[in-house]
Symmetry: C2
């Protein structure tokens, strides 16, 4: 099956004009029921064909079919949620019926030792040159096309809004829990792809698709192992020249690799080999799932910069100290203000403010004092990037401050990240800022790590590293 | 001033029967107003004396005095929030009036170069052998005695509930923002002490007090520098034999140390020297403010263990892989189940569950399957501690699962931590578990780091390291 064909056909998976749900059911406990419910509930605009071999009339109020062969209309995507042993036969019917693509939700293949059954699935897919995601996966979600093959109760997941971050996960569990956190992190989703055993469509195909996908600005990726090493390196070389890829590899220790093998039958290879490839080709390496979310925010919203001289502005001295430490731990440095900046700050700041970085605006700083400091930093050519610590517990910090930070954080030509730590009052202001495109972090380390990821990637793109 | 006297008198700061608020005002913008409001609002049961040199009658409806000398009644604590230059004179009046202790909120001393003024403050405190916290601090909060000298608007901070964790912070900003996060982390506060410039009462005195304090089970500590190195080492030696101390030092890089000096005029010393002392005497070193909260939770609720063989139970394979990696990064190991455990699990688990660690209970696991696995791990002598990954996005995970985890997590004789990542449905279940004494983390690394801190400390206590 030629690579281009696979790539082209992923379009049918993400943007199908018609969907057959094989295993659809009126029984609310069945996976096919939940998936069909999602399509209806989310207002999927295409045709939906419920398929169930036992069906006699309608399923969920729609005309049902015993087989895709009975539909007699174009089907772009078949979502298959039936017992593993009959999946190859169902897929063969899909091929005969001219179905363009499939997502196999069902588990019970290589991951539990049924390698022969998985081989049979692959054989059928190849016979019809059909792109198949799975088996043993959650499938795909696309908030624009309202495709959603996830068989999870909708009330259990905070649906992400529409955005520019695509999330690829070999693991369904990592996929669903990270997906569920996206909304509270304030950025939006382009595509979600949980690809499980990667029997047909694999990492390489997905990256190839997302590289060319205009809606995808940033990719975050949980991977356990790549089957086609050479092709993976080829696509890795290309993709990071176009958009950032934040990656976390499961199984980087020997014990973890063993666990990964029994999870998705992944050939995990040596951790060192993967990390070397990731670094060489400009992937941003996440050390924790939280990094996926933290890095995604800064990449989606902030401009690139190859400079590493960072200004820290704070209304809390101790947090400024910790942020300074966090900068240096990440190989970044504190900027030194120009003479002009110092002069200007001396004019506008009250006498208690010591005009040096980290700039401690003092506990009574309000939005005006922050804005004055920010406009100085914006102009200062010695400053490449900014960390603004805005603690909302202090009397002067309120929604006007959030508004000022939004103004600077969305218009400056330098990257800016915000640190705001706290409870419900702070969370309300974080939400304001994040929904407007300013990345906010709840610890000095997370902010500095994320800014460093942005700067490292910028240098890779410019060929500096 | 003898050390014991200082220690004894911190009682008057934390549990005063009467409080004079110097700088009290009817003007709601004044710090003295906010502090007095806190005392009234929180139902402080002792006597409150508003003091203001300009006062003519009442302040906030209570009889006001021009000076503490006019009160003619016992005053246990004076909270002083007046301009820096008159603080020494006010403190002298307190001494003359027999006030037992003071908290000086006012800034404008050594931290802005006014060393002479701070020396004068110290001279007065010594003259009356009066324990003084501050200057340049937020002061203290004690949810039991309802003492609260924080001058922050109450609606901006989620007040912590009563608990066993005491939080000490040299920095007011770090203090208020971490304090504000305690509530959502699900543990309760014993004492909060923000001590600023440490002119009189310092780190050593505070640790001395908290070491003997029965309500304090765990101490979390933000420090920029200790003035009395020798005494600090003495108390460090003693305190960690009695209770865990989680510490984060601001200014561990050269640039950070410079920032710390201009913040609280701290003599920060070399980072290496501090870290050596911390490690030698069994402090748990936090690398990020989040670690303070994460470690506090496990120390407050879970039993100690010197074994490092950890069982991982999960309803999501990928997260189990990442947790395994995180264990080994922390020097812990995956346990190997006993033959008996394997046999028992084979009997009770469905055939899709592979009976080895990490134990993947599969995406359809419910509370019963988790409970069966947990009761096996509880008995298995090859298992020292547990990480339970409970992803609430899956169909089988609901409040019954939370209840089962609460049962095991609060009765087992082995430490157990839970990983639950997600949005609002997950957060609701996290709250259930945390408010019942089960520590829950939102990433594999945070869970493993925290469990490792507990095990490292256990080894220190048993003299193993």
């Amino acid at each position: 099956m030629p690579k281009e064909k696979k790539y082209a056909n992923l379009e049918f998976i993400m943007h199908p004009k018609s969907v057959a749900i094989v295993g659809a059911s009126d029984n609310a406990d069945k996976i096919g029921h939940i998936i069909m419910h999602n399509y209806i509930d989310e207002g999927y605009p295409g045709r939906i064909y419920p398929i169930n071999i036992k069906s006699t009339g309608t399923i969920m109020g729609r005309k049902a079919y015993k087989s895709v062969l009975d539909v007699k209309a174009k089907i772009d995507l078949a979502v298959i949620a039936v017992p593993a042993e009959i999946v190859p036969a169902v897929l063969d019917e899909c091929g005969k019926a001219g179905v363009k693509s499939a997502v196999v939700i069902s588990g019970g293949f290589a991951e539990v030792g049924n390698v022969a059954l998985q081989d049979e699935l692959v054989r059928v897919a190849k016979k019809y040159a059909m792109p198949v995601i799975g088996p043993n996966c959650l499938g795909v979600m696309d908030p624009r096309s309202r495709v959603d093959t996830l068989f999870l109760p909708t009330f259990k997941i905070d649906k992400p809004s529409i955005g520019g971050v695509s999330f690829v996960s070999q693991s369904g569990a990592v996929g669903s829990s990270v997906l569920d956190m996206i909304n509270s992190e304030g950025f939006g989703l382009a595509r979600f792809i949980s690809y499980g055993n990667a029997a047909v469509v694999d990492e390489v195909d997905i990256l190839n698709y997302l590289m060319r996908d205009k809606e995808t600005k940033v990719i975050i990726f949980y991977i356990e192992g790549a089957k086609r090493g050479k092709e993976f390196i080829e696509i890795a070389k290309k993709i990071t020249k176009i958009k950032p890829v934040v990656i976390i590899k499961g199984g980087i220790t020997e014990a973890g690799a063993g666990a990964a093998h029994s999870h998705t039958a992944a050939l995990t290879g040596s951790a060192g080999a993967y990390e070397a490839v990731f670094r060489q080709f400009g992937f941003s390496i996440a050390n924790d799932l939280k990094d996926l979310l933290n890095f995604a925010k800064v990449f989606e919203t902030q401009p690139l910069t190859t400079g590493n001289r960072v200004a820290i502005i704070t209304n809390g001295g101790g947090t400024g100290v910790l942020a300074t430490d966090a900068l240096y731990k990440n190989g970044l440095t504190l900027a030194t203000l120009s003479k002009e900046s110092e002069e200007e700050l001396k004019k506008t700041m009250p006498s208690i403010v010591n005009v040096r970085l980290p700039l401690d605006l003092a506990g009574d700083a309000d939005d005006k004092r922050f804005s004055e400091a920010l406009s100085v930093m914006e102009k200062d050519e010695n400053v490449d990037a900014l960390i603004v610590i805005a603690l909302f517990q202090t009397p002067g910090a309120d929604s006007k401050l959030a508004a000022s930070l939004i103004q600077f954080g969305t218009t400056m030509k330098k990257p800016m990240v915000v640190i705001s730590m706290g409870g419900s009052y702070t969370q309300a202001h974080r939400t304001m800022m994040e929904s407007s495109g300013v990345p906010v972090y709840s610890s000095p380390n997370e902010a500095a790590d994320s800014l460093a990821a942005l700067i490292d990637y910028s240098k890779y793109r410019k060929g500096i590293v």
